[in-house]
Amino acid sequence: MNLSLALMLQLTIILPLVATLAILATGKKPNLREAVTISISLAVLYCVINLYQGLIAGATIEAFWWELLPGLEVSFVVEPLGMLFALIASFLWLITTLYAVGYMRGHKEENQTRFYLCFAIAIGAVMGLAFSANLFTLFIFYEVLTLSTYPLVTHAGTEKAKNGGRVYLGILLGTSIAFFLLAIILTWFVAGTLDFTAGGVFGSDVDTSLVGAILVLFVFGIGKAAIMPFHRWLPAAMVAPTPVSALLHAVAVVKAGVFTILKVCVFIFGIELLPTLPTTEFLLYLAGASVLLASIVAMRQDNLKARLAYSTVSQLGYITIGALLATSSGVIGSSMHIATHAFGKITLFFCAGAILVATHKSKISEMRGIGFTMPVTMAAFFIASLSIIGVPPAGGTWSKWFLLMGTIETGYWVIMMVLMVSSLLNIAYLLPIPYHAFFPGKGHPTAKTGIKEAPLLSLIALSVTTLGCLILFLYPQPLYELAKTILTVPGVSHGH
């Protein structure tokens, strides 16, 4: 049984790459091409679920590929945090594919083969990243993810797309080479290993100022986590087609960033060492500032996708804060927030895309009264907004609960205030949208226009993710159990 699980682990990475070949081969026949994408995403999901069951049953699942340089190997291991990320990403890949089929055809996008191709590579990279057994493997897939999503961001091929892509690539590649790589090399130099190890790799007698500097390099270098001032790529990437924004910039890419931060905080630094570093507090306040500023900027955006983008920047700050708090509640809150925010934000993006396809509107000010033509979409938007804000009956409640607990436990009152204020701001910039959609006020169109929703596949997709938001509230146990074991996992270090 263990052998086949190890095989499945590798299949989750290899299958999407195989999919690229199949997509290329069937590029001329759209129906077949989409069938390939969907069946492979089903297969990946099947593998991930099997891995999950294996992990719950207590199996050790590892895979070793090759040694790139002496001591630096490309290898994989299944542990709860990575499992959580892989589950979300593979499930939402399937849903997004369904959505994309409706959207891309409804919107008559060009170069769809290239689109599905890059999409598949990106998912393969996310799987590799989620199951990385060491920082080195993670870095490789991190870069592959950046490069494979670049063509998706610039999909439209216009001047605006080009400029967006420039910022996207410039910041993500730039920070990863200038800071992330340096941080990895310094870690390698100080600790002599890059394996993710329970409790961290640095001994107790290290030079805390040096290690503190490494932490700063990590937080800045992992540009995908979009901590200000390196957040500009996220709004810039919104020129992409909506399914891309949905999966990659609500789930895969940004979550790869915060996932990496969590992973580094828990398994490279360790939660014992982290609070003793001189720079941790500074970074906490920086993340807090990022949360608050991004929320304020979001309020001023009239373009729906831009508003959602800034909202994402703000929510990512929550997760970084949870990781840096380095307490059990903080880590649990952060990892749960990865899941709940993913479901909430992807729904919001799906809705934005649905509105664009059905009515060609992208500005919030034009969306008054839209609830009468798109009731399902706007109802979904409302529920997802609740999840982002963090109130019942949506999943975001739980993760924000644990994050607040974390700030209280550690006594960072300012950060706690920041989180509270930001939640109020979330209300201010999200809820008016569904409100005005259903209560447009005088002088705006009402029920007369008749119902005109997005294509059925897209509608199904956004209903599923909305349901996800609700289920995460009602049945958070499996997620909580998984998040709880992150810190108790005995040996994530290698041993092949």
Partner: protein, 492 residues
């Protein structure tokens, strides 16, 4: 036969060069030259195997004992260089027949192949011989044929570029000759191993200092170290495409080899790095070179110029690794020699394919090529990523070792500057990518076709090598490690 491998490596292409004139039919000569260089490639693989298994090979020319006779001495370093030169030389030559059809008049074809073989002979000679005067002789063979090759370029500016290179190269060669002369005057020997022994007694004299200075400056001119790089951009830009691809991958590498050989083996680490402040000079020049040349590359409009300036910047990386003066640093340099040869030959060959199809390598002419020549442009993208140093490409491997070497010796600022320098590479590579993929095809130009397979095959062989050696690093890392450890006298 196996015992004679070292001399066969040099003598076969040397004899083959005049034989080209007997065939004198473009295609036949091409096949012949390809055959000869394939032979040298095979030969160098055998040499490398032999060296790795049984240590340094010493071959006495004509059976005369050193130091009276000339000896060829092949250790890991020489074998690595031989492999780089011969393999790149062969792969690039594969596309030559197609390329020069468009770029050279029919009656120059034989001359081209003949010069190409002579140039490669010279390089083989430099890296095989254990005799310093012999180095000079082969240096002249390879340089003179390179000047002529560059002057063959279709663009009239090629003549001026070749002339510039001729002047600068001759000054460099003369300096080297003066240095060798002074050494001979002090020690009475020209054999490298013998020189290394005898120099110890006299190495505090002013004459030896002068000899050292002449040699270093001469070699640095040849390797286009900033600020002695002025000859390089135009020479690369206006030479025939094949010549650029070949020289960019090999010429500066041979000069780096000479630098290593002279300082580590002949003068010794102690003398080169302790008596004289070589380390600081080279690290500063290397860093300035990286930033100045990369910045220049960002503003160039001729794509050959862009990559030529990038080559100067890459020389900066090699020099820094060398100047860090540890086994890891030198290893980084040797890896980068190998890796950079793979990148630049792939990139310049892809530019050759563009030249073949549209007759120009101006950046503005690249508009729309992403769709029209997808395979060629994809090759440029992968090559460019390797240049930036993205993981899973060779560029990452050498950068990793360079950074580790800098961090190990506590040179934090150097490590940071190296990383910042590689960000500049993103800028100049992405200018090309954006033009090729985001701009519509030029109005009024007929649809451009993908390059012929005779181009695509060697280009993609090199591109795949860029990826392969970025993933399976056993060969390159082992050889580089063995070479640098033996230069540092560490027994593995």
């Amino acid at each position: 036969m196996l015992a004679h491998l070292p001399i066969l490596q040099v003598i076969v292409p040397l004899m083959a060069a005049p034989l080209c004139w007997f065939l004198n039919r473009s295609k036949l000569v091409w096949l012949f030259a390809l055959l000869v260089s394939a032979f040298t490639c095979l030969n160098s693989i055998l040499l490398l195997q032999q060296v790795m298994s049984s240590g340094t090979i010493i071959y006495q020319l004509g059976g005369w004992d050193a130091p009276w006779g000339i000896e060829y001495r092949i250790d890991e370093l020489n074998a690595l260089l031989l492999l780089i030169i011969s393999s790149v030389g062969t792969v690039v030559l594969f596309a030559a027949h197609t390329s020069i059809q468009k770029e050279l008049p029919e009656d120059r074809h034989t001359l081209f192949y003949s010069l190409y073989l002579l140039s490669i002979t010279g390089m083989f000679g430099i890296v095989s011989t254990g005799d310093v005067f012999n180095v000079f002789v082969f240096l002249e063979i390879s340089s003179l044929s390179a000047y002529a090759l560059i002057a063959l370029g279709k663009d009239r500016r090629a003549l001026w570029a070749a002339y510039q290179y001729l002047i600068m190269g001759t000054i460099g060669a003369t300096f080297i000759l003066i240095g060798i002369g002074l050494l001979y005057q002090m020690t009475g020997t020209l054999n490298m191993a013998d020189l290394a022994n005898r120099l110890e007694e006299v190495n505090q004299t002013r004459t030896v200092f002068a000899a050292f200075a002449f040699l270093i400056v001469g070699v640095c001119l040849k390797l286009a170290l900033f600020p002695l790089h002025l000859w390089l951009p135009n020479a690369y830009a206006y030479a025939p495409s094949i010549v650029t691809a070949f020289l960019a991958a090999t010429a500066t590498k041979v000069a780096v080899y000479l630098l290593i050989r002279f300082t580590y083996t002949v003068f010794g680490i102690e003398f080169s790095f302790s008596t004289l402040p070589l380390q600081n000079i080279f690290i500063v020049l290397g860093l300035v070179g990286i930033f100045a040349a990369s910045t220049a590359a960002i503003y160039k409009t001729n794509v050959k110029h862009i990559f030529a300036y990038s080559s100067i910047a890459q020389v900066g990386y090699m020099i820094i690794g060398y100047a860090i003066n540890t086994s890891t640093g030198l290893m980084a340099t040797l890896l980068h020699l190998f890796n950079h040869a793979l990148m630049k030959s792939a990139l310049f060959l892809a530019l050759g394919a563009v030249m073949y199809r549209i007759g120009s390598v101006q950046l503005s002419q690249f508009q729309g090529l992403g769709r029209q020549m997808p395979l060629t442009m994809a090759a440029i993208v992968v090559g460019g990523l390797s240049l930036i140093g993205v993981p899973l490409t060779v560029g990452f491997i050498s950068k990793w070792y360079l950074l580790v070497a800098a961090v190990e010796t506590g040179m934090w600022p150097v490590a940071v500057l190296i990383l910042l320098g590689s960000l500049l590479a993103i800028l100049y590579v992405w200018r090309i990518v954006e033009t090729a993929y985001f701009k519509p095809p030029l109005p009024g130009r007929e649809a451009v076709q993908e390059a012929p397979w005779t181009f695509l095959a060697p280009i993609w062989a090199l591109v795949l090598a860029n990826i392969y050696f970025g993933i399976d690093t056993r060969l390159s890392v082992q050889v580089a490690q063995a070479a640098s450890q033996s230069l540092f006298g560490i027994n593995p």
